[in-house]
Amino acid sequence: MYTPVGAGVIDTQRVPVSYALTAAAGFFVVLGTKNFLDRDYVTGGLCVIAIVVALAYAHAIYRSRPQPMSDAVLTVLTICVLTVTIDRRGLIGVLWCPPLMLLLHLVTNRRASAAFDAAAVVIAVSMTYHQIDGLTAFRVSTILLISSAFAHIYARIMASHQARQEEQRQHLDLMVSCANVGGLEWDSKTRQMRCSQRLLDMLGNPPHANQPGWDILEWVHPDDRQSMVSDFFSLIHSSAQPGEVRKTEAHGFRLVTAQGQTLWVHAEAIAVGAQDGSTQKFIATFLDITQLRAAQADTLAALHRQEELNELRARFVAMASHEFRTPLATILSSTQLVRQYQDRLTPHEREELLASVENGVQRMTAMLDRILLINKADAQMLEFAPEQLDVVAVCRGIVKEVEQQADLRGCSIALETRLPTMVGYYDTKLLQHIFTNLLSNAIKYSPDNSRVLFRIDGEGDKTMFEVHDQGIGIPASDLPELFEPFHRGSNVSHIKGTGLGLTIVKKSVETHGGDITVHSEMGHGTCFRVTLASGNPSTA
């Protein structure tokens, strides 16, 4: 299948020519021997030259190699040797040869053959010597012509059969190369593996490929070798009925190229059983599916992103519908009360109702601001403007603010710090986003009258903040999605919230170049630990 076309291939069309030349060489062997025995060394030497030339020529024609000299030169040379060795007078016979050869070549459609040339020589020589009468010469040359014609027809049939086979082979090769499939053949006699050029190309033309002892397993990804042996090459060693064709299921393997790249291939194999029940033939095909897999991975990733977006949208709709309806209910009921019961309300009650409308609007605005903040952070547009400040003082201010705004239910926040002041470069807004949310959450999810610990500590240019509560805790299943927008813990359905706070915290920490970790124990409490770089370490 993979034999190179070109030098060394037997050309059936020219086989009779080489046979005729070999026969001529045989004739010179007999003639040479006779001359040597008669002590005519000159003629004997000429015979040896003629033998060498005829055999060299026959071999060259048989193997389709470049011919040492043209047909005409050889023929004339042969006739010269022949006539000289038989009778030196016969040189005249040479003069008959060219027109006879020309005639025969024209009759046979200019297809030169040694048989025709030989016929010309016989006729010429016999007519020269008049030793063979015309009828005998005619009979000899006719037999030669007919046998040559048969040889010619046989050669033509063989050639057309071979051409058909060659065409089919080229057709198959073309189909295989079109399918971009690499082939592997296992030889049951030599027990060697042989790869097609395409497979070698796929493997980056590794050294020593197709040489004795070479094994494709060396080029299979180490993690896939075991499965390739058990799922694939096991077919070679399994017993089969004579002639039985067995196929493996399609497998996906990784190959490692000579350049170290990993290729994904789709491999299938077929094995044919031998008479003794072993495997006679094993052929495997390898289709490069690396790009296909990459495209598949991209599609899956896109699908996953789409699913995430869908989930995000669903969570947003659920949150927005719930969290917007509450202030809207306040606004609508307050305005309707003022309109419908205007006369029966005291000025103070009217003022209270109008204030609740304002509160409702503010609540909705704050919620929108939080959504926009996350959107800004997603677009990497969150501002980071650090300035020199005392982070302990800023945190104390945040604690006070949270204590004023949150529904404390008897809870308290204790700020603990080893140093009275810690000066560094921080963004006040981001600090507010981070700790307002963490502290309000700590209170919101803690039992009444519990204590929230807010600890600040510094080490080198790092500042560590811990918000520790004794609240309900976060289920482990919620931790991976804790910082996702609109995600709420599975144990907080009875506690109102937007699911935006921790997302804002995370984005703010990231913008500040810090990191956040969480440790939680159900029923015992949660600890958020934020580490920020203080920029310019200066503690007092």
Partner: protein
């Protein structure tokens, strides 16, 4: 005039409901969460209950379940005030024994009509003492 219990942890909404029901001439009791609400039901046995769904301690569904499990309280009209727009949840509430639901934001005129309809269905003696 009926004795109406309002259970809602959202202070502005609860206050507006109380103000509205008082102006409508009812006697109003209020509770700030589910647990306090259930206690108030057991203590006051109101003629009508308006209850929020999402609340701390006990949510609206748990309050309803507790009310339905007590034969003495089962007959009290129980209307949910819900910020959830999920109709399946509200339909489920009706299956569990709620007599109606109102979604936030609600119209006072609709609430007035609902109250009138549900109070009119009560037997003359009513569950109230």
């Amino acid at each position: 005039m009926a004795r109406i219990l309002v259970i809602d942890d959202e202070a502005p909404i609860r206050e507006n409901l109380v103000r509205f029901l008082v102006l409508e001439g009812h006697q109003v009791i209020q509770a700030t969460d589910g647990r306090a609400g259930l206690e108030a039901i057991r203590t006051h046995k109101p003629d009508f209950i308006l209850c929020d769904v999402m609340m701390p301690h006990l949510d609206g569904f748990e309050v309803l379940a507790a009310t339905q499990s007590d034969p003495a309280l089962r007959g009290i009209p129980f209307v949910f005030l819900s910020a959830s727009a999920e109709p399946e949840k509200l339909e489920a509430a009706l299956q569990q024994g709620a007599t109606g639901y109102v979604t936030k934001p609600f119209n006072l005129a609709n609430l007035r009509q609902l109250l009138a309809t549900q109070l009119a269905r009560l037997p003359p003696e009513g569950p109230a003492v």
